[in-house]
Symmetry: C2
Subunit: 143 residues, 2 copies
Amino acid sequence: MQYMHRALRLAKQAYRQDEVPVGAILVKDHHVISQTHNRCVIDNNPLYHAEMLAIYQGISQLQTLYLNECTLYVTLEPCPMCAAAIAQARVGKLIFGAYDHKSGGVEHGPKIFSHAHHTPEIIGGVLEDECASLLRNFFKKKR
Amino acid sequence: MQYMHRALRLAKQAYRQDEVPVGAILVKDHHVISQTHNRCVIDNNPLYHAEMLAIYQGISQLQTLYLNECTLYVTLEPCPMCAAAIAQARVGKLIFGAYDHKSGGVEHGPKIFSHAHHTPEIIGGVLEDECASLLRNFFKKKR
Protein backbone atom coordinates (compact mmCIF):
# COMPACT_ATOMS: atom_id res chain seq x y z
CA MET A 1 0.00 0.00 0.00
CA GLN A 2 2.86 2.39 0.78
CA TYR A 3 3.68 2.86 -2.92
CA MET A 4 0.08 3.58 -3.84
CA HIS A 5 -0.03 6.14 -1.01
CA ARG A 6 3.05 7.71 -2.54
CA ALA A 7 1.48 7.66 -6.02
CA LEU A 8 -1.55 9.34 -4.50
CA ARG A 9 0.64 12.09 -3.07
CA LEU A 10 2.01 12.66 -6.58
CA ALA A 11 -1.54 12.79 -7.91
CA LYS A 12 -2.27 15.50 -5.33
CA GLN A 13 0.77 17.45 -6.54
CA ALA A 14 -0.69 17.24 -10.05
CA TYR A 15 -4.04 18.47 -8.72
CA ARG A 16 -2.42 21.55 -7.21
CA GLN A 17 -0.86 22.30 -10.61
CA ASP A 18 -4.27 22.06 -12.28
CA GLU A 19 -3.28 18.83 -13.95
CA VAL A 20 -5.55 15.76 -14.09
CA PRO A 21 -4.58 14.16 -10.75
CA VAL A 22 -2.95 10.86 -11.67
CA GLY A 23 0.33 9.77 -10.10
CA ALA A 24 2.60 6.85 -10.92
CA ILE A 25 5.54 5.11 -9.28
CA LEU A 26 7.83 2.55 -10.82
CA VAL A 27 9.43 0.18 -8.33
CA LYS A 28 12.13 -2.46 -8.67
CA ASP A 29 13.39 -4.59 -5.77
CA HIS A 30 11.80 -2.18 -3.28
CA HIS A 31 13.57 0.78 -4.86
CA VAL A 32 11.61 3.62 -6.41
CA ILE A 33 12.95 4.02 -9.93
CA SER A 34 10.71 6.83 -11.08
CA GLN A 35 7.87 8.88 -9.64
CA THR A 36 5.75 11.02 -11.87
CA HIS A 37 2.35 12.58 -12.41
CA ASN A 38 0.41 13.73 -15.44
CA ARG A 39 2.10 16.65 -17.17
CA CYS A 40 -0.14 17.16 -20.22
CA VAL A 41 -1.02 20.74 -19.33
CA ILE A 42 2.31 21.75 -17.76
CA ASP A 43 4.33 20.40 -20.70
CA ASN A 44 1.69 21.03 -23.36
CA ASN A 45 1.77 17.42 -24.49
CA PRO A 46 -1.34 15.21 -24.58
CA LEU A 47 0.82 12.06 -24.40
CA TYR A 48 2.49 12.96 -21.11
CA HIS A 49 0.41 10.72 -18.91
CA ALA A 50 1.96 9.68 -15.60
CA GLU A 51 2.53 6.10 -16.80
CA MET A 52 4.32 7.13 -20.01
CA LEU A 53 6.66 9.38 -18.06
CA ALA A 54 7.28 6.71 -15.43
CA ILE A 55 8.20 4.23 -18.16
CA TYR A 56 10.45 6.69 -20.00
CA GLN A 57 12.26 7.60 -16.79
CA GLY A 58 12.48 3.97 -15.73
CA ILE A 59 14.09 2.90 -19.00
CA SER A 60 16.59 5.73 -18.91
CA GLN A 61 17.29 5.18 -15.20
CA LEU A 62 17.84 1.43 -15.44
CA GLN A 63 19.48 1.60 -18.86
CA THR A 64 17.40 -1.39 -19.84
CA LEU A 65 15.11 -2.02 -22.79
CA TYR A 66 12.40 -3.80 -20.81
CA LEU A 67 10.90 -3.46 -17.37
CA ASN A 68 9.98 -7.08 -16.60
CA GLU A 69 11.27 -6.81 -13.07
CA CYS A 70 9.41 -3.62 -12.26
CA THR A 71 6.03 -2.90 -10.75
CA LEU A 72 4.11 0.15 -11.91
CA TYR A 73 1.74 1.74 -9.38
CA VAL A 74 -0.71 4.21 -10.84
CA THR A 75 -3.70 5.88 -9.23
CA LEU A 76 -6.02 5.39 -12.23
CA GLU A 77 -6.63 2.50 -14.62
CA PRO A 78 -4.31 3.18 -17.56
CA CYS A 79 -5.85 4.43 -20.82
CA PRO A 80 -5.34 2.34 -24.01
CA MET A 81 -2.16 4.23 -24.96
CA CYS A 82 -0.56 3.70 -21.55
CA ALA A 83 -1.74 0.09 -21.28
CA ALA A 84 -0.22 -0.63 -24.70
CA ALA A 85 3.00 1.15 -23.66
CA ILE A 86 3.08 -1.03 -20.52
CA ALA A 87 2.85 -4.09 -22.78
CA GLN A 88 5.46 -2.66 -25.14
CA ALA A 89 7.92 -2.02 -22.30
CA ARG A 90 7.04 -5.42 -20.77
CA VAL A 91 6.33 -4.05 -17.31
CA GLY A 92 6.19 -7.02 -14.93
CA LYS A 93 3.35 -5.95 -12.66
CA LEU A 94 0.66 -3.27 -12.85
CA ILE A 95 -1.17 -2.08 -9.75
CA PHE A 96 -3.77 0.62 -10.20
CA GLY A 97 -6.20 2.55 -8.00
CA ALA A 98 -9.48 3.82 -9.45
CA TYR A 99 -11.21 2.11 -12.35
CA ASP A 100 -11.80 4.30 -15.40
CA HIS A 101 -15.15 3.26 -16.84
CA LYS A 102 -15.05 5.93 -19.53
CA SER A 103 -11.48 5.95 -20.81
CA GLY A 104 -9.72 2.94 -19.28
CA GLY A 105 -7.94 0.47 -21.51
CA VAL A 106 -7.26 -2.41 -19.12
CA GLU A 107 -10.66 -3.54 -17.85
CA HIS A 108 -12.60 -1.27 -20.21
CA GLY A 109 -12.71 -0.16 -23.84
CA PRO A 110 -10.26 -2.06 -26.04
CA LYS A 111 -8.98 -4.17 -23.09
CA ILE A 112 -5.45 -3.93 -24.39
CA PHE A 113 -4.05 -6.97 -22.62
CA SER A 114 -6.53 -9.31 -24.31
CA HIS A 115 -4.55 -8.64 -27.51
CA ALA A 116 -1.04 -7.80 -26.30
CA HIS A 117 2.07 -9.95 -26.70
CA HIS A 118 2.97 -9.20 -23.10
CA THR A 119 0.58 -9.01 -20.16
CA PRO A 120 1.72 -7.90 -16.71
CA GLU A 121 0.35 -9.30 -13.50
CA ILE A 122 -2.55 -6.91 -12.76
CA ILE A 123 -4.18 -5.77 -9.53
CA GLY A 124 -6.86 -3.06 -9.76
CA GLY A 125 -8.83 -1.18 -7.13
CA VAL A 126 -6.01 -0.50 -4.63
CA LEU A 127 -6.94 2.59 -2.54
CA GLU A 128 -9.73 2.92 -5.06
CA ASP A 129 -11.88 5.33 -3.04
CA GLU A 130 -9.09 7.83 -2.34
CA CYS A 131 -7.84 7.73 -5.93
CA ALA A 132 -11.33 8.08 -7.39
CA SER A 133 -12.49 10.84 -5.08
CA LEU A 134 -9.44 12.99 -5.90
CA LEU A 135 -10.31 12.71 -9.60
CA ARG A 136 -14.01 13.34 -8.93
CA ASN A 137 -13.19 16.52 -6.97
CA PHE A 138 -10.89 17.73 -9.73
CA PHE A 139 -13.49 17.36 -12.47
CA LYS A 140 -16.22 18.83 -10.24
CA LYS A 141 -14.06 21.92 -9.73
CA LYS A 142 -13.45 22.12 -13.49
CA ARG A 143 -17.13 22.18 -14.46
CA MET B 1 1.79 9.50 -52.77
CA GLN B 2 4.88 11.73 -52.48
CA TYR B 3 4.71 11.79 -48.69
CA MET B 4 4.42 8.02 -48.44
CA HIS B 5 7.43 7.74 -50.75
CA ARG B 6 9.26 10.01 -48.37
CA ALA B 7 8.15 7.95 -45.36
CA LEU B 8 9.40 4.88 -47.19
CA ARG B 9 12.81 6.51 -47.65
CA LEU B 10 12.91 7.09 -43.88
CA ALA B 11 11.97 3.44 -43.33
CA LYS B 12 14.94 2.49 -45.52
CA GLN B 13 17.20 4.68 -43.38
CA ALA B 14 15.95 2.76 -40.34
CA TYR B 15 16.66 -0.53 -42.15
CA ARG B 16 20.27 0.48 -42.72
CA GLN B 17 20.59 1.21 -39.00
CA ASP B 18 19.29 -2.26 -38.16
CA GLU B 19 16.06 -0.77 -36.87
CA VAL B 20 12.60 -2.15 -37.73
CA PRO B 21 12.00 -0.27 -41.01
CA VAL B 22 9.03 1.97 -40.33
CA GLY B 23 9.03 5.63 -41.33
CA ALA B 24 6.57 8.42 -40.54
CA ILE B 25 5.92 11.93 -41.78
CA LEU B 26 3.64 14.51 -40.23
CA VAL B 27 2.26 17.05 -42.69
CA LYS B 28 0.26 20.24 -42.20
CA ASP B 29 -0.88 22.45 -45.08
CA HIS B 30 1.58 20.75 -47.43
CA HIS B 31 4.45 21.40 -45.05
CA VAL B 32 6.40 18.57 -43.50
CA ILE B 33 6.34 19.16 -39.75
CA SER B 34 8.29 16.11 -38.67
CA GLN B 35 9.93 13.12 -40.31
CA THR B 36 11.03 10.18 -38.26
CA HIS B 37 11.66 6.48 -38.20
CA ASN B 38 11.68 3.81 -35.51
CA ARG B 39 14.47 4.40 -33.00
CA CYS B 40 13.81 1.62 -30.46
CA VAL B 41 17.22 0.01 -30.90
CA ILE B 42 19.24 3.18 -31.53
CA ASP B 43 17.78 4.95 -28.50
CA ASN B 44 17.25 1.83 -26.40
CA ASN B 45 13.58 2.65 -25.89
CA PRO B 46 10.76 0.24 -26.83
CA LEU B 47 8.29 3.14 -27.06
CA TYR B 48 10.21 5.04 -29.73
CA HIS B 49 8.08 4.00 -32.66
CA ALA B 50 8.13 6.29 -35.70
CA GLU B 51 4.60 7.55 -35.02
CA MET B 52 5.29 8.45 -31.38
CA LEU B 53 8.35 10.44 -32.37
CA ALA B 54 6.50 12.15 -35.23
CA ILE B 55 3.76 13.19 -32.81
CA TYR B 56 6.19 14.43 -30.14
CA GLN B 57 8.15 16.45 -32.69
CA GLY B 58 4.95 17.75 -34.28
CA ILE B 59 3.59 19.00 -30.97
CA SER B 60 6.84 20.68 -30.05
CA GLN B 61 7.27 22.11 -33.56
CA LEU B 62 3.76 23.54 -33.84
CA GLN B 63 3.54 24.49 -30.15
CA THR B 64 0.03 23.11 -30.17
CA LEU B 65 -1.68 20.61 -27.91
CA TYR B 66 -3.55 18.82 -30.69
CA LEU B 67 -2.81 17.86 -34.27
CA ASN B 68 -6.28 18.04 -35.82
CA GLU B 69 -5.01 19.80 -38.89
CA CYS B 70 -2.20 17.33 -39.53
CA THR B 71 -1.93 14.19 -41.60
CA LEU B 72 0.31 11.39 -40.37
CA TYR B 73 1.83 9.16 -43.06
CA VAL B 74 3.35 5.94 -41.75
CA THR B 75 4.64 2.94 -43.68
CA LEU B 76 3.02 0.37 -41.35
CA GLU B 77 -0.35 0.11 -39.67
CA PRO B 78 0.16 1.64 -36.21
CA CYS B 79 0.32 -0.68 -33.20
CA PRO B 80 -2.22 -0.19 -30.37
CA MET B 81 0.06 2.21 -28.46
CA CYS B 82 0.63 4.43 -31.49
CA ALA B 83 -3.01 4.26 -32.60
CA ALA B 84 -4.10 5.33 -29.13
CA ALA B 85 -1.48 8.12 -29.14
CA ILE B 86 -2.87 9.28 -32.50
CA ALA B 87 -6.32 9.45 -30.89
CA GLN B 88 -4.89 11.18 -27.81
CA ALA B 89 -3.13 13.84 -29.92
CA ARG B 90 -6.23 14.13 -32.14
CA VAL B 91 -4.34 13.68 -35.40
CA GLY B 92 -6.70 14.70 -38.21
CA LYS B 93 -5.84 12.10 -40.82
CA LEU B 94 -3.89 8.82 -40.78
CA ILE B 95 -2.50 7.30 -43.96
CA PHE B 96 -0.60 4.04 -43.62
CA GLY B 97 1.18 1.62 -45.95
CA ALA B 98 1.36 -2.07 -45.04
CA TYR B 99 -1.26 -3.78 -42.88
CA ASP B 100 0.04 -5.42 -39.72
CA HIS B 101 -1.97 -8.59 -39.22
CA LYS B 102 0.03 -9.62 -36.17
CA SER B 103 0.55 -6.42 -34.17
CA GLY B 104 -1.61 -3.74 -35.78
CA GLY B 105 -4.04 -1.77 -33.64
CA VAL B 106 -6.14 0.00 -36.27
CA GLU B 107 -7.70 -2.74 -38.42
CA HIS B 108 -6.45 -5.55 -36.18
CA GLY B 109 -6.18 -6.56 -32.52
CA PRO B 110 -7.92 -4.11 -30.20
CA LYS B 111 -9.03 -1.86 -33.12
CA ILE B 112 -8.31 1.22 -31.08
CA PHE B 113 -10.54 3.64 -32.99
CA SER B 114 -13.67 1.58 -32.27
CA HIS B 115 -13.27 2.76 -28.68
CA ALA B 116 -11.46 6.10 -28.95
CA HIS B 117 -12.91 9.55 -28.25
CA HIS B 118 -11.22 10.83 -31.40
CA THR B 119 -10.93 8.99 -34.70
CA PRO B 120 -8.89 10.36 -37.59
CA GLU B 121 -9.87 9.94 -41.21
CA ILE B 122 -8.03 6.70 -42.14
CA ILE B 123 -6.62 5.40 -45.43
CA GLY B 124 -4.67 2.12 -45.32
CA GLY B 125 -2.74 0.20 -47.97
CA VAL B 126 -0.96 3.15 -49.66
CA LEU B 127 2.22 1.81 -51.35
CA GLU B 128 1.37 -1.35 -49.47
CA ASP B 129 3.64 -3.69 -51.48
CA GLU B 130 6.77 -1.56 -51.15
CA CYS B 131 6.19 -0.93 -47.43
CA ALA B 132 5.46 -4.59 -46.72
CA SER B 133 8.34 -6.02 -48.73
CA LEU B 134 10.85 -3.79 -46.93
CA LEU B 135 9.62 -5.17 -43.60
CA ARG B 136 9.57 -8.75 -44.93
CA ASN B 137 13.18 -8.45 -46.10
CA PHE B 138 14.25 -7.03 -42.78
CA PHE B 139 12.75 -9.87 -40.76
CA LYS B 140 14.03 -12.49 -43.22
CA LYS B 141 17.54 -11.10 -42.76
CA LYS B 142 17.08 -11.21 -38.97
CA ARG B 143 16.13 -14.92 -38.84
